[in-house]
């Protein structure tokens, strides 16, 4: 697997704008429900111990990319971009939750990330037509084009 430099996805200099006010973590909904790895700490670790360590931590996958941290950031640091870049980098190094891999495989195979058998019944109950078949080939093509195959086999 090829490794891609994290700093190609995120301007490293933006991190130096952070003075650790913690407004980001204070507003983080993921932190409310799980002892996650808050945005403030993520930035500090990138700066102080290096992103190499950060991308090994599975807690980075707890972010729900709601972007509230970025909205609150007084320094306008694109925190969501950083978290996405970190996860890109982590996935390429093999740090990706198994359930996520399964979902990707399913998406590539069926065009859907989860199979809910009751769905058609529910739709029928509400008088809706069954879902049309997903354009699997098109979805696969998109997944390939994004380079996902370099990370997950599907």
């Amino acid at each position: 697997m090829t490794t891609i430099k994290l700093w190609k996805f995120f301007a490293r200099e933006d991190l130096y704008e952070c003075y650790q006010c913690a407004r980001c973590t204070g507003s983080c909904p993921a932190m409310e429900v799980a002892p996650a790895f808050g945005p403030r700490e993520t930035i500090l670790k990138c700066l102080n111990v290096g992103h190499e360590k950060v991308v090994q931590d599975e807690r980075i996958w707890l972010c729900c990319t709601c972007n509230v941290c970025e909205d609150r950031c007084p320094q306008k640091i694109p925190i969501s971009d950083l978290l996405v870049a970190l996860r890109n980098s982590a996935a390429r190094r093999g740090n990706i939750p198994g359930r996520l891999v399964m979902a990707i495989e399913l998406l590539a195979k069926t065009g859907r990330s989860m199979i809910v058998h009751q769905l058609d019944e529910m739709r029928a109950h509400h008088g809706l037509a069954p879902l049309p078949p997903a354009p699997v080939e098109e979805i696969r093509a998109i997944l390939e084009k994004t380079g996902l195959r370099e990370v997950v086999e599907f």
Binding site: C21, G26, P74, K76
Partner: protein, 818 residues
């Protein structure tokens, strides 16, 4: 055909046999010497025409350095001196004084800026920096050869001063000047002097009562025989120059005469109510009111926006009837007062940040979230709750109080700078709560506590010892319980690495301070510069901290940057002292930079008079010529390029001098070079700032200084293009920031016209760039040069010479048709 400038140059070509130029190349320790090979630069200078000696020295500005210049002037009979060192904005006065002391006219000095414009911006390319320094010295030598001695005009200084703003800084400055014996006009916009300090409850770090220490000073202003207090007044126009300003002040009607004893009978009967500005809107006042108990002047006023008798119709006269002294006068009208002053002190103060925009904090939505200024009024005995600590929602005393620091400060979402006073203000407020209501729990949420001043750390320690809890981490969210009005803070304690959730009775947002929303008005009236944060800029950040670039105008207080009371007072005394120096001397020399018209060449077309921003050019067709009124001319040079008959020239920035600089730059490898014209006040200073900030940019730029960008003649651009220059930059102050009354409108007009001409002829327009760069925009200057260099990289020398050929042909065609 011959170009204008060439003809003129031949007329004025100096005889190099008469020239005795001395060149001094300064190492400035390692500042220049560490990058530029100063010995080689001096060697290079030695071979330049007219140069009789060239020396390098470690510090030319030092006493021995200056003595050397003086000795050489006398012994070697030097008649021109070139110093290659730092920016002329720094040491030109030093070296001019040295020349004068040795009997050489100070205008025969020329400086080459090889520090800010060379060594500091090309730190990593020593060879290129040395080559550039040689070029800069060559330019300076060729300009020096064309310098002429000048006599400076002496103008009298009116021994009167105006202070704009009646806060503590304005009060101090006015008192200091008045005590020195000068008449002072103190212009205050609101109904009373006192400013922000009057609104505060206590002051840090001594915990003095704010109004108790301010009120005596306010009354001193009120009764001082040398101070004329103009309240409800605003400066409307300023004309003139150092020592001789004519100011128009709009004095709004008060509708209450001076005989008012402030008995308060009128407010008992006034039916109209409005939010009380002094109490930060936490209480109400009547349409007739006095701003606060200690107000100076102690005279009521009527807010015509609220009074029923608006627009001259008397619908209600209850106050008139109630007033036993008959002080109410509805016939008063706004008036314009004209005053003449020699010096001006600007002490316009600051606004506080409005945190409404930070919606996550709920200010304006949750009644128990207030600002520090509101809190100051709340716990002040003269405030809306008579000093009782209550929270707005239910007027109950809060038992848990939180302070949030850095609200609106240190943020790209609001003000990027530290507001300087909020940390200590919060600590003071926390201690006040502790003192009066010791059972209250107090939490301070902070990022960094900046307790940098005398006595500050002590106060911080005291707050910690007295149980104020400091938590590092600003809440990301505030939630209100609508039933109780309590607020919950959500955040992270960064030092513990733990999430927190605190329920509080009241939250106080420690809001920052920012420039007055209309600070631009005064900026334009007085031709001041502002820094990137919007505060007025000092002439030099270290050594002229209260001067401005406008002669005779000084800064005091927070208008120059966030400041506490002590610093404001210190700066006010400094500003007053600077103004006192001017007034006690009684006269001032103005630089000899005026324009002059040759009456023999003048055809009285009047074009120059039309562009003069100061109406300093007078004459008529009947008279047959126009002439420059020297005392009124400010030396921008905007008129010179306007003249089609070469009848005008500017002293010390003559056509011949600048053309010689252009020619010198383009003597070798012209296609690789960028000629940058920069105005003295903004763009040249901006380039200096790039140097001071050590911003690195391409080394092929050569900066030529003019006083105003409007001095830049299209003929210079034409000449540079004909000589095959790579690119030309014309840079000046931002529109409306021009130091010469918008003279730079002419710059824009002329450059646009030149672009059209380039388009017509088929020359790449990108080779001429117009950029507005302020003195604070070093980074912008560096960026412009980088972009121009990138554009230049795309051009081949062949294309450049083809362009020059096209221009030449078009000129030939033009001369044939005319």
């Amino acid at each position: 055909m011959k170009e204008k400038a060439e003809i003129r140059e031949q007329l004025q070509a100096p005889d190099s046999r008469d020239l005795r130029i001395g060149v001094y190349v300064c190492h400035c320790g390692k500042n220049i010497g560490g990058t530029v090979d100063c010995v080689k630069v001096a060697e290079h200078a030695r071979d330049l025409p007219g140069v009789v000696l060239a020396k390098d020295s470690l510090y030319t500005c030092s006493e021995p350095g200056q003595e050397q210049i003086k000795a050489d002037i006398k012994e070697q009979k030097l008649n021109r001196v070139v110093v290659a060192s730092c920016t002329p904005r720094l040491h030109e006065p030093t070296f001019r004084a040295a020349c004068e002391a040795a009997g050489l006219n100070p205008y025969l000095l020329e400086m080459a800026n090889i520090r800010e414009h060379c060594s500091w911006v090309h730190l990593h390319d020593k060879e290129a920096a040395t080559e550039k320094a040689k070029d800069l010295v060559s330019m300076a030598v060729s300009r020096a050869a064309r310098l002429a001695p000048q006599v400076e005009l002496t103008v009298p200084v009116t021994r009167k001063a105006m202070v704009i703003g009646g806060g503590v800084a304005g009060i101090q400055a006015a008192l200091d000047m008045a005590d020195a014996g000068y008449h002072v006009y103190l212009v205050e916009r609101s109904g009373s002097i006192g400013g922000r300090m009057a609104q505060l409850d206590k002051t840090f770090p001594t915990m003095d009562c704010s109004i108790c220490i301010l009120a005596p000073k306010m009354s001193e202003v009120g009764r001082h025989p040398n101070i004329e207090l103009l309240t409800l007044s605003e400066v409307k126009s300023v004309s003139g120059y150092i020592g001789n300003f004519n100011v128009e002040v709009l004095k709004k009607a008060r509708y209450v005469s001076k005989e008012c004893t402030s008995c308060g009978d009128c407010i008992q009967v006034c039916p109209q109510l409005a939010p009380d500005e002094f109490n930060a809107g936490l209480s109400i006042r009547h349409a007739i009111y006095i701003p606060f108990a200690q107000a100076v002047p102690s005279t009521f006023l009527i807010d015509m926006g609220q009074c029923l008798n608006n627009q001259g119709i008397v619908a209600c006269d209850r106050c008139f009837q109630a007033c036993s002294h008959k002080c109410i006068d509805f016939s008063q009208r706004d008036q314009i007062i004209e005053i003449e002053v020699g010096t001006i002190v600007v002490a316009t103060g600051v606004d506080v940040y409005d945190p409404t925009a930070l919606t996550e904090l709920g200010y304006g939505k949750f009644p128990n979230v207030i600002t520090t200024l509101e809190f100051e009024r709340l716990i002040n005995a003269g405030g809306p709750s008579s000093g009782e600590l209550i929270r707005p929602s239910d007027r109950r005393r809060p038992s848990k109080v939180a302070f949030l620091q850095c609200i609106g400060s240190r943020s790209k979402r609001s003000n990027p700078y530290c507001s300087n006073v909020c940390c200590m203000n919060t600590i003071k407020d926390a201690l006040l709560i502790r003192e009066h209501w010791p059972e209250t729990e107090i939490y301070v949420f902070y990022i960094d506590i900046r307790a940098f001043g005398k006595g500050f750390e002590d106060l911080f320690r005291r707050a910690r010892r007295e149980g104020v809890i400091f938590i590092r981490g600003i809440p990301g969210e505030i939630i209100e319980d609508i039933n109780t009005g309590d607020v919950t803070l959500l955040g992270e304690n960064t030092l513990l690495g733990e999430q927190y959730r605190y329920s509080m009775d009241m939250v106080i947002l420690s809001v920052g301070i920012k420039p007055r929303r209309d600070s631009e008005d005064i900026q334009r009236l007085l031709n001041l510069s502002t820094d990137t944060d919007g505060f007025y800029m000092e002439a030099h950040p270290k050594l002229r901290p209260v001067d401005t670039t406008t002669g005779g105008v000084f800064l005091a207080g927070a208008a120059e940057g966030p400041k506490d009371i002590k610093d404001s007072v210190t700066q006010a005394s400094a500003a007053a002292s600077r103004a006192n120096i001017l007034m006690s001397r009684g006269e001032v020399r103005v630089p000899a930079l005026t324009s002059r018209i040759d009456p023999d060449k003048c055809t009285a077309c009047g074009l120059c008079a039309r562009v003069c921003p100061y109406h300093a050019i007078q004459g008529s067709k009947e008279q047959g010529y126009y002439r420059v009124i020297e005392a009124a001319c400010q030396g921008c040079g905007a008129c010179v390029p306007e003249c089609r008959f070469e009848a005008i020239d500017q002293t010390h920035f003559t056509e011949a001098q600048i053309v010689s600089q252009i020619d010198s730059v383009l003597a070798n490898d012209p296609h690789e070079k960028i000629v940058a014209f920069a105005c003295n006040w903004c763009s040249y200073a901006g380039a200096d700032f790039a140097g001071v900030s050590r911003l690195q940019y391409p080394h092929n730029v050569r900066i030529i200084r003019t006083m105003c960008s409007a001095r830049v003649s299209p003929a210079w651009i034409e000449r540079a293009l004909l000589k095959g220059v790579g690119a030309v930059l014309v840079s000046g102050c931002h529109p409306a920031d021009c130091h010469y009354n918008n003279a730079n409108q002419n710059t824009a007009r002329r450059v646009e016209r030149f672009w059209k001409r380039m388009e017509r002829i088929g020359i790449n327009k990108d080779r001429l760039r117009l950029a507005w760069v302020s003195a604070a925009e070093g980074a912008q200057f560096a960026r412009v040069i980088e972009e121009m260099e990138a554009g230049l990289q795309k051009l081949s020398p062949r294309q450049i010479s083809q362009d020059a050929e096209k221009l030449r042909k078009s000129l030939v065609k033009k001369s044939e048709t005319t």
